[in-house]
Subunit: 404 residues, 2 copies
């Protein structure tokens, strides 16, 4: 069967399953999730054997060590993956929630209700736990899911898919609620994002290249998570100790993540006092400073930091809107007026005043879990939790009402 | 200048204007809207002269009469276009609304606030009033807008653009808040929908061909309004008089619009009684019935109707989900259980019980005005009012909080 036909048939099966998945009660969905967690534990040896085969092939093929590391489903990672499934089962179900109701003068009664999308395609790269994480979130929100993982993790993903589907079967949930694309052909991704009418939304879980390729080919909506070029602007009315503490947290607590700071902007009058402190801190923490950056859009994801001097809050805002990635940006100041201006005019998903950018995270925002952090403005912006995996519909009732 | 450079420069100007437009107070935006309404009235002769030139060229070029009709900015249409601008000024402003606030255990305080998108591109076809309608809605929601109309209406659109921009200038709003693409080159549309980072969303206001072409080329999100293939399902537990009244309203009140019914489904046991009534009604109202349809996806937009017989609510739901356009569909029944099932399982933006599908409309839903009716599931579904022309951002405040 050619790849186009294969994806089309998978999408048809997912669409067919989606109505029964959408109609599942919260109780039944949670039962299915707990069944998945149990089954994964039961199949742990099989899954970890499959993972070892992937790791061995990757090493043999000379994959870079940090990419091999991402692939490994260690004991710790396995345990936390399974705990994640049970955690999703414990979260409140957004499906069916009535967002608002209106009684209109025309005598119709309107309810706006939260409902599943239908079918979601997730395309991910090396980490096999993403299969289980995203499948759990989609199942909880009543969506059918089609997953396509990286070629390095194919054995792990096949083993995880078999385990998850066996668990669904056991509790009587449609198997086609969770499908893995086993083909390694790149055309599969193109076919997925061109399945108009069958797949409602595609979510890339990977790097910029993957996201760009998907957007270029897509005819269906793609929820994007581009890079995080986050800024800390230190105003001349800042508390310098607070500024350094937030900078330290935002840069060094976990440099490899998207909500870590990549650029420090300092108000020019404060710079002669504050920059020497920054240099001392950087020397102490092993942070490489780029004080004459040629590349303000850099996302280091490492212990490196661009440093710029600006005239004040206006220039900081312009700089951030021009070079940033509209993810998370922060002002440190004790001046409420400047803070309000910054919070209003910085065009980012999360804008901070005297708080580390590291808080941009579904759990920290009280959403429970997250499937990603959207740098788009449509539908979802910032952390995407369960609610962001749903859409809404209007139901309208009346007693034979016609329009005049 | 080539078309690519021209669109890029327009998009840069719109982006630059967007921050000042986003920061305008409600009062200032309403003042600008009233200034536009006044100015349009003052420029009425100029605008209608320009429109007459378009109409004359269209007739000379042999454009079909119904397309020429759409182009005409008659006295009535002009008055209602200007009244529309004043009406938008009278509506509540969604920008700045706090959607929710959360105090988190980490000591951060989060506000989710409604904000403008930034820059919106609207591509429309023959009706020149769309220029003014959509520019008003975008301005009210603090968005900069780039418009591209049909080539038949170019003189009208240029005159409207000059009038609107003169009004903006008079009240001190950035001129680049409203820009018209004057080039008739089709490549302009492609360039608009590929302006990643400069234009946030594109909204087609036109037929299926335009929408498909935009989606095919797009790298930015497109909010789509595909066709309305709306269904009326008459259950065997229906009140037949009510069924006929709703069918009549949904099919004949305004057959050319997207929320008009295009297909009647009748439960098989009721068919022998109800179909003769339908035939009599159709003969009386001049509605052409297609009782052995080969084309269940047809959107007639005219006095024609597909008619099908189904076994019951389950088959009705499957038929609608398979052949419909996920716009508006209705069940007529006195059986609450079947009604609930239909409302839950029909995968459409608006699902009706004993109410005409004609109510799918921003004003009827209490949204004030609408820019279109989305058949997408992301961001906006169903009627798109002012709120749907906004996104949100999170602002996070605290007193030097860092992540542990």
């Amino acid at each position: 069967m050619d790849i186009s036909t294969m994806i089309h048939e998978m999408a048809l099966r997912a669409r067919a399953a989606s109505s029964s998945v959408a109609a599942l009660s919260t109780e039944k969905k949670d039962k299915a999730l707990l069944s998945i967690a149990d089954r994964l534990e039961k199949d742990a040896d099989l899954i970890r054997e499959a993972n070892k085969r992937d790791v061995a092939s990757a090493k043999a093929a000379g994959l870079q060590p940090h990419l091999v590391d991402r692939l490994i489903l260690s004991e710790d990672r396995f345990v936390s993956m399974v705990a994640g499934v049970r955690f999703v089962a414990s979260l409140p179900d957004p499906v069916g929630e009535t967002i608002w109701t209106r009684e209109r003068p025309s005598q119709i009664s309107i309810k706006k209700k939260r409902v599943p999308f239908g079918v979601i395609a997730v395309v991910f790269e090396s980490r096999p736990n993403v299969f289980v994480d995203t499948a759990s979130l989609c199942l909880k929100t009543g969506n059918a899911i089609i997953l396509r993982g990286g070629k390095e993790a194919i054995e792990s993903n096949k083993a995880l898919a078999a385990s998850v589907r066996a668990a669904l079967d056991q509790v009587g949930v449609a198997l086609d609620a969770v499908q893995l694309v086993e083909s390694l052909d790149h055309a599969a991704v193109t076919e997925l994002v061109r399945s108009v009418g069958l797949i409602d939304v595609a979510i890339p879980r990977g790097g910029e290249r993957l996201i760009k390729a998907m957007c270029e080919a897509a005819l269906i909506p793609v929820l994007k998570h581009y890079k995080g070029v986050c800024h800390i602007y230190v105003d001349d009315k800042a508390d310098m100790a607070m500024a350094l503490s937030i900078l330290d947290n935002a840069k060094t607590q976990r440099p490899s993540v998207c909500n870590a700071a990549e650029c420090l902007l300092v108000q020019k009058d404060l710079a002669p006092m504050f920059l020497p402190m920054v240099r001392a801190w950087a020397a102490d923490k092993g942070v490489k400073l780029h004080e004459e950056s040629q590349n303000w859009e850099a996302e280091f994801l490492d212990l490196e930091l661009n440093v710029g001097v600006v005239n004040g809050v206006d220039e900081a805002i312009s700089h951030i809107n021009l070079y940033g990635s509209h993810h998370s940006d922060c002002i440190i100041t004790n001046d409420d007026e400047r803070a309000s201006k910054f919070l209003r005019d910085v065009d980012s998903a999360a804008v901070y005043h005297n708080v580390s950018t590291r808080f941009t995270d579904g759990a920290e925002f009280g959403m429970g879990a997250e499937i990603g952090i959207s740098t788009d403005k449509l539908h979802a912006r910032g952390p995407m939790g369960l609610e962001e995996l749903t859409t809404y519909k209007y139901t309208i009732t009346g007693d034979g009402v016609i329009r005049g």
